[in-house]
């Protein structure tokens, strides 16, 4: 996810640098009025951010060089027909009023029709989102399950080889383009070694089995095939998802390991760690229970952010792996100049992005009252 590397750096800033020790689940000692005030302030800034996001996509939709009215009526239409089309599309209204109309449409779930599929964009998006969520979730799992222990190991052995190795891996994560890493992965593990299946979510021969034998409850092939007991479909889906999820997961791993390392270094330097050691608590318990316990909550925000960046990084990954998710949908729409679909997809990713950022902010506020009083910036 270059895009990951790019974003990952932003994410580093977004996380307040100094996590405080836990103090009960509401952060301890905060009056109710203050909590209400904070919630309403958060809600207000959330609304403004959403409106800003929609205004930007609205403006992007207005700067296309193609005149939408002309596209509807064609070159040879009379002036009256052209005016009628403009009126029907609301293009003769003032810009702010047009934005109002756009806002109303989006809030009622109307992103217009896709030119490419001739279906409402919302339906299309609902159909492709599960594939993206499945990919991003598995990638995040890989990132957490490997990244957290790696980060702890790096912090414990600061300056020695495990630390250098983690540093090296995350440096590569910041430098390598995700789509290229994906292609190299395909070349090596699919083309040369034959360990994994190729692009797509399933082999063609299993697609029919999936259509007929598997009850599609969630849209996630992995979950649905297990629920229906179709283990052969499940095995095939696993062999397809391993590589794209591994590639995306590598970027999550690099980021999570780096952040875990810095959280752990901070915790291990605290006096309570010394106290625990003096008391004779075994070293593994000091590291994995005491220190990691306090680093755990800021880590949740890191994981939320990394999930958000994976959603974005999936655009390029899905293109490489022909993974029929939201990213591939947006890029396909790009090439058909299908602006409704492009902007609809952009708004959905933007909403998910803001939502995940918000969740991480709230979690952070719960852990560290100081972060909340600073106003979050």
């Amino acid at each position: 996810m270059s895009d990951r590397d790019v974003p990952a750096r932003n994410a580093e800033e977004a996380v307040p640098p100094r996590p405080a020790p836990r103090r009960g689940w509401l952060g301890g000692g905060m009056g109710l009025p203050r909590a209400v005030g904070r919630v309403s302030q958060t809600a207000l800034s959330l609304v403004i951010t959403f409106l800003g996001l929609l205004f930007i996509t609205f403006l992007i939709g207005r700067i296309i060089p193609i005149d939408p009215a002309l596209a509807v009526v064609g070159e040879r239409a009379s002036q009256a027909q052209y005016e009628a089309a403009r009126h029907a599309l609301g293009l003769d209204q003032p810009l702010l009023k047009q934005f109002g109309i756009y806002l109303r449409d989006v809030l009622t779930g109307d992103f217009g029709k896709s030119i490419l599929t001739a279906r409402p964009v919302v339906e299309d998006i609902a159909r492709v989102v599960p594939a993206t969520l499945e990919l991003a979730t598995i990638a995040t799992l890989i990132g957490v399950l490997l990244g957290v222990p790696a980060g702890v190991a790096a912090a414990v052995s600061q300056g020695r080889w495990p630390d250098q190795l983690i540093r090296f891996l995350s440096l590569i994560g910041y430098s390598v383009p995700v789509f290229w890493l994906g292609l190299i992965g395909l070349l090596v593990f699919y083309g040369k070694l034959g360990w994994v299946a190729g692009p797509g979510r399933l082999d063609v021969s299993y697609e029919l089995a999936y259509e007929f034998d598997v009850v599609q409850r969630t849209g996630s092939i992995l979950i649905d095939s297990v629920l229906s007991g179709a283990w052969d479909v499940f095995a095939n889906a696993v062999s397809h998802i391993v590589l794209p999820a591994g590639v995306l997961g590598y970027f999550a791993l690099a980021y999570i390991a780096r952040m875990t390392r810095s959280f752990m270094l901070e915790q291990l330097a605290q006096e309570y760690v010394t106290t625990a050691r003096v008391k004779g608590v075994p070293e593994w318990r000091v590291v994995w229970v005491h220190a990691l316990g306090n680093a755990r909550l800021p880590l949740i925000t890191v994981v939320a952010l990394s999930y958000a960046y994976l959603l974005e990084g999936s655009v390029l990954t899905e293109t490489v792996f022909a993974w029929p998710g939201l990213g591939l949908y947006i890029t396909n729409a790009l090439f058909s100049a299908d602006m409704n679909a492009v902007l609809g997809g952009t708004v959905v990713v933007g909403f998910a992005f803001i939502g995940l950022n918000l969740i991480s902010d709230i979690l952070y506020g719960l852990v560290d009252p100081r972060a909340a009083t600073r106003g979050g910036s």
Binding site: S2, P7, I60, L171, W180, L183, L187, M339
Partner: protein, 311 residues
Amino acid sequence: MSVAAAPRAGGTGWRAWLTTDTPGSRLQARSVQAYLAWLGFARNPLAMLGLAIIVALILMAAFAPLIATHPPNVQNLRERLLPPGSEGHLLGADELGRDIWSRIVYGARTTLTIVALVTLTAPVFGVVVGTAAGYLGGWADRILMRITDIFMAFPRLILALAFVAALGPGIENAVLAIAVTAWPPYTRVARAETLTVRRSDYIAAVRLQGAGPARIILGHVMPMCLPSVIVRVTLDMAGIIVTAAGLGFLGLGARPPLAEWGAMISTGRQYLLDQWWVATMPGLAIFVVSLGFNLLGDGLRDVLDPRGADR
């Protein structure tokens, strides 16, 4: 310059002049500072490696016609998809028989153009907004930072994609799209730096001398932001290169005959399993250059902005 600024006769020449702890002029004081920073930087082998990569990239772009073994856009269908090392093609030939090494060399120009244009726009805009917000405070600060937050909340690649989709493909539009999504972090960095200096005595002194806000911001606040912004720009270069390559890979960057690394990977995709070099080589170029910028940025950060070093 005053006489004191000249190297002292009979001493050990430039080195003594550069390391003195009693500089005789402003120029000398600055030179000493820069020299000591350089010594610190040069002690870090990885940072020097990064610097070497970037210098090599710039030389490659500047002397592309001398370094390239073939013209980058001349097709030769008899030599299409030749493997590396055959018939004078160092890194092989692509699907139109063009020499991949030569196209990578010329592609360095495209990459540097994009990087230079983004560097000239996004950080400048971001620093102006950030210093203004930080120095003016109050409502101006709130509104400017709210707008910054909105752009910050956007997924960058997706926003860039939407922009390019609306504006049409091409280098200029790719640059514009990347710049539009890249400025907010600079605003934050510049604002944070401004907040630390705006109450300081030297600013008060300048204000008492009658300087207006514009003069204070431009002449006395912005220079304080430069070190952290330079570090940030260098670290961002890698991201900019990778994003630009991503746009090129999706067919939204440079238009066809022009050599661009991302677009080269994209065409190589079709031949991935049988002619692996077509997609692999330009990707290696992107990786090495962006690694170079990351190493250089880390090194610069250690020297210029030690506070951020532990991140």
